[in-house]
């Protein structure tokens, strides 16, 4: 009797132990690396999905020549809604699309101007895409972006991901992922910023990301150039590295100062209904190069360089403030800072912030220091 019981239990366990119900077999999926969204005629959208072809990635790295086959496949389709269109791909592709490895979402300019919220909604609602997806606005056609042949990476979308990663060495691009974007979209006053992606080079085949696309709520309204974008990054304290080029204090020529660290502090002040924002930026730089043969690694001159650098950084920040005010877009999140410190005044101001923002006073205080001068501080020229 007991044996029969045990046998029965074993049989009952069989269906449960045979494996997961919702198992994901790698061969049943097409791994999506990037999504492109463009506007089509009649209020429709045109989507491009970039799928990785793992076989090609492998042969390329092994053989060296690789037979010239692309390691990705772009499929395009038109539809009315994001998810609806994406699922229509199952008519063309033999596998189900799989989003967790998606690295980049690229909006076309036209789509961004019409509002990115529908696409954002899909990306954040669906359990598959991750919060670490990067978003871009394309200056060129989405097709060209996704068909660019990156030289080091094999897949354009992966290349975009790497480009974002590498920005920390040369701050000049504003980057935002899903979570950062969602915080901006939830805020009443803050204007989100995304990077632009464009094709550069003689043959227009090198992917690069530059500047910042300024959004109002979810609609693209303007752009920041590289200098203005760095101004924004200074205010956020997000400048990790980069080069500030200043004039030589001793005469002709230029000096490159390599930023080694920076931090920022925003202090809002509300007096008689007037808003004043004080932005304090602290920065530390090293002399990274010079075009003249003057000896700059002298304490006094390094101090002078610091003062010149202050002005250069201030100039960048003020340029971005000016642009933001012109666009009436609070890209810095000044509104939130005011709200944090003056909740009562903020309640009245919040709804008319668009009108208030262009008239707020922004004081920029930069405190920078030139610290080091490299391992060979003096230029290779006969001493004077």
């Amino acid at each position: 009797m007991k044996k029969i019981k045990i046998l029965l239990i074993c049989f009952m366990l069989m269906p449960v132990l045979s494996g997961c119900w919702s198992y994901h077999e790698l061969k049943d999926y097409d791994i999506v690396m990037g999504i492109g969204v463009d506007k089509a005629a009649d209020d429709k959208i045109n989507m491009t999905v970039q799928i990785a072809l793992p076989d090609q990635i492998k042969t390329k790295s092994k053989g060296g020549e690789g037979g010239g086959l692309k390691a990705y496949w772009n499929i395009e389709l038109e539809g009315e809604t994001i998810f609806g269109t994406l699922r229509d791909y199952s008519h063309m592709s033999t596998h189900k699309l799989y989003f967790p490895h998606c690295k980049a979402v690229v909006f076309s300019r036209a789509y961004a101007e019409a509002g990115i919220r529908p696409c954002f909604d899909f990306l954040s609602r669906d359990p598959e895409p991750r919060g670490t997806v990067w978003m871009f606005v394309a200056r060129d056609k989405i097709d060209d972006v996704f068909n660019a042949e990156p030289k080091v990476e094999k897949i354009p979308a992966v290349n975009l991901d790497e480009l974002v990663e590498i920005q920390k060495y040369n701050a000049g691009t504003y980057t935002a992922n899903l979570v950062k974007m969602s915080r901006c979209l939830l805020s009443k006053t803050r204007a989100p910023v995304l990077p632009f992606v464009e094709l550069t080079g003689d043959k227009k085949d090198v992917l690069s990301i530059t500047g910042g696309a300024v959004f109002k709520s979810d609609k693209l309204i303007g752009e920041l150039d590289e200098k203005e974008t760095r101004g924004l990054l200074w205010v956020e304290g997000e400048v990790k590295s980069g080069i500030v080029t200043v004039d030589n204090p001793l005469g002709e020529g230029k000096v490159d100062l390599e930023i080694s660290r920076s931090s920022a502090e925003i202090k809002p002040e509300v007096k008689d209904g007037k808003v004043k924002i004080t932005v304090k930026v602290r920065e530390l730089a090293n002399i990274g190069g010079q075009t003249t043969s003057d000896v700059l690694a002298v304490p006094d001159i390094m101090k002078q360089l610091g003062v010149i650098q202050n002005a250069a950084i201030k100039n960048e920040i003020e340029a971005s403030v000016k642009k933001a005010k012109a666009l009436k877009a609070d890209v810095f999140g000044f509104g939130e800072e005011v709200g944090n410190k003056y909740p009562k005044e903020w309640k009245e101001m919040e709804d008319k912030w668009d009108a208030v923002f262009p008239h707020i006073e922004v004081e920029v205080i930069v405190d920078s220091e030139v610290y080091g001068a490299g391992i060979v501080p003096k230029p290779a020229s006969p001493s004077q």
Partner: protein
């Protein structure tokens, strides 16, 4: 004669209470539906409030040592009204077990096993808990330390992995949420995270050192609070306002982790946390249900009831909530008030009645 022949040590009670409170971690989505900034403060406030309020439970245990909740009802309210009160408690115990199982199953099925029918997972979980309950208090109390320590360790790991993404400004300004929101958040934490531990009145009589009961219980609360505080701090500082739109901030927070492109995609840790802690929570409430049923029916052993009860629980899981949205709506608005009746009002009435009737130290031997 006693229903439960086993005895657990005081430290086992501590870790059991800790693991039980950790079992509510996946309910953090409820409080993040209302506000995000001051949730960490709310956990501290609720913790302190409950630390004071738990004196009601502990006093009852002290007045009638060796009697569990159902026996206390009989002593305080007499055999007839007492039975009615006990029946009310049992109805709550059952719904409580079902609601927790359903919520946890929806959490896991919705995020990880999206093709799996809810019931498949729920049946497996309930049967697992039934097995644990059938093995007895001593058996599953031993897992308390292991599970609560594992969960705490995983939460600490998540905290450190997120440190690079934390922003202090997400906490500012402190205490500027609308008062009613803060009260509601506190009420949810108080009733769902902390005062559900009143189920331990079915377990406390079987703790070896009754004198140190207060201390052991309090330490258990501290374990729960430490975990909860860490979780709320991590979620608020990493996600900020976007935590309010997500259905599960816990999982979104874990998905955000990407340390040097090496340590990423570690949301399975959340799965581990939820599985371990929910197992403890459902097991304890299942045990309390079975025990109180046996006590009311004056049975000699609660074990024969386990299979029948699991059938009841399984049957109730599907009709309990219509869909996940209804569920979180209920968790935010209805459940805390409903639960407060059993967790706050009834024990308070019991204590007052007991004081008025001058019941003290009456040892209660057998069934009723």
């Amino acid at each position: 004669m006693k229903l439960e022949k086993g005895m657990i040590s005081n430290s086992q009670l501590t870790f059991l209470v800790g693991a039980y409170i950790q079992g509510s971690l996946f309910c953090t989505s409820l409080i993040y539906g209302i506000s995000y900034r001051d949730n960490w403060l709310a956990t501290i406030v609720s913790f302190l409030l409950f630390a004071i309020f738990s004196a009601v439970y502990l006093n009852l245990m002290k007045m009638m040592p060796g009697s569990n909740l159902i026996q206390i009802d009989d002593i305080v309210f007499g055999p007839y009204i007492g039975k009615l009160v006990s029946a009310a408690y049992i109805s709550f115990f059952i719904l409580h077990s079902v609601a927790n199982t359903r919520y946890a199953c929806d959490f896991i099925v919705g995020l990880f096993l999206d093709q799996t029918p809810l019931m498949v997972f729920a049946i497996m979980l309930i049967l697992l808990c039934a097995w644990a309950v059938h093995s007895g208090l001593e058996a599953f109390a031993r897992t308390g330390f292991l599970f609560s320590a594992t969960v705490f360790f995983l939460i600490v790991t998540l905290f450190f992995l997120n440190i690079g993404k934390m922003e202090i400004s997400n906490f500012l300004p402190v205490l500027r949420v609308p008062v009613m929101d803060f009260v509601q958040v506190n009420h949810i934490i108080f009733s769902i995270f902390y005062s559900e531990t009143f189920l331990f009145m079915m377990i406390m009589p079987y703790v070896s050192d009754q004198k140190k009961l207060k201390k052991s219980f309090f330490y258990g609360l501290v374990i729960g609070e430490a975990t909860l505080l860490l979780v709320t701090i991590t979620i608020t500082s990493t996600l900020g306002i976007s935590a309010m739109t997500t259905s599960n901030p816990l999982i979104i927070m874990a998905r955000e982790i990407d340390v040097a492109k090496m340590i990423s995609r570690i949301e399975f840790m959340i799965l581990g946390i939820v599985m371990l802690s929910v197992f403890m929570k459902v097991t304890v409430s299942f045990y309390a249900t079975a025990m109180s049923f046996a006590q009311v029916l004056s049975l000699r052993d609660y074990r024969p009831l386990v299979i029948a009860l699991s059938a009841v629980l399984i049957a109730l899981i599907q009709p309990m909530f219509h869909n996940p949205i209804v569920q979180s709506e209920c968790g935010e608005k209805t459940w805390p008030i409903y639960a407060s009746v059993f967790e706050i009002v009834l024990p308070l009435i019991t204590l007052i009645t007991a004081k008025l009737r001058g019941i003290s130290g009456a040892p209660c031997g057998g069934g009723t």
